[in-house]
């Protein structure tokens, strides 16, 4: 009885990316200013510094990717829990699937 497709809000994912990319752009800007003081080139003329952005479809795909991360983690841990006859997924189950999960993503 799932009414909505359980997934991440694309706007949320977009906001997270923007936060990271803004931070990185700021760092690049600071490095550029430092460089500009050394040489004669004016700061802010650096082409590299326009901030990265993402198109809508890429965000949708990223939201799906993250959703799969969650479902894979749960599914793999559930398999272990089931094999042990448990009915609830606990730390010990998650622990065992973690290495391969992190290698897969």
């Amino acid at each position: 009885m799932e009414d909505e497709n359980n997934t991440f809000d694309p706007d949320l994912i977009h906001a997270i990316f923007k936060l990271v990319w803004t931070r990185r752009a700021l760092e690049r800007e600071r490095n550029d200013v430092a460089d500009a003081l050394d040489c004669e080139v004016g700061a802010g003329t650096s082409k590299k510094n326009r901030q990265t952005s993402a198109n809508g479809k890429a965000i949708k795909l990223s939201s799906e990717l993250l959703r799969i991360f969650i479902t894979e983690a749960v599914q793999r841990a559930a398999t272990i829990a089931e094999a042990e006859g448990a009915s609830k997924i606990e730390a010990t189950h998650l622990e065992r699937i973690l290495p391969q999960l992190l290698l897969d993503f």
Binding site: E2, N6, T7, F8, D9, L12, I13, A15, I16, F17, L19, V20, W21, T22, R23, R24, L26, R50, Q51, T52, S53, A54, N55, K57, A58, K60, L61, S62, E64, L65, L66, R67, I68, F69, I70, T71, A73, V74, Q75, A77, A78, T79, A81, E82, A86, S87, K88, I89, E90, A91, L94, L103, D104, F105
Partner: protein, 142 residues
């Protein structure tokens, strides 16, 4: 010169604080979504899942999104001399997991199919959600 550096440092600190609180809000929203996705998936597998474990998975996923995924996407786009991240970058970031890459590729095809102005001729792909429809690696030149 010293004054400039001091002011800069202050500005950096303020920026960092602001970024932290925005980041916290996003992390909380992310956690809420994770809880709902994780609990639904656990139920699908006939299991319950303990709360701290969901929080743990959420933090892991958030960290992955912010530290790895965002960074990789930016780097891939930059590598292709673009400022805009596209679907092909996302698919590339999943290259370590063939199953995952395949699922994403089909979703990508579905999303492209919905676009009215698609000019290219594409092979007709059946609308199945998780099945791999193509085993041929094709280059997306979108």
């Amino acid at each position: 010169m010293e004054k400039a550096t001091d002011m800069e440092m202050e500005r950096e600190e303020v920026e960092e604080e602001e970024t932290e609180s925005v980041s916290d809000v996003l992390r909380d929203r992310f956690r809420l979504s994770t809880i709902s996705i994780a609990e639904a998936e656990a139920k699908r597998n006939g299991m319950e899942i303990s709360e701290p474990i969901v929080a743990c998975i959420s933090d892991l996923a958030f960290k992955y999104a912010a530290e790895q995924l965002a960074k990789d996407l930016e780097l891939f786009a930059q590598h292709a001399s673009r400022k805009i991240v596209k679907m092909e970058d996302v698919i590339l970031s999943a290259h370590r997991n063939e199953h995952l890459a395949t699922s994403l590729r089909s979703l990508c095809d579905d999303l492209k199919a919905k676009e009215p102005q698609s000019e290219r001729k594409r092979k007709k792909t059946p609308r199945k959600e998780n099945k791999a429809t193509t085993s041929v690696v094709h280059i997306l030149d979108n």
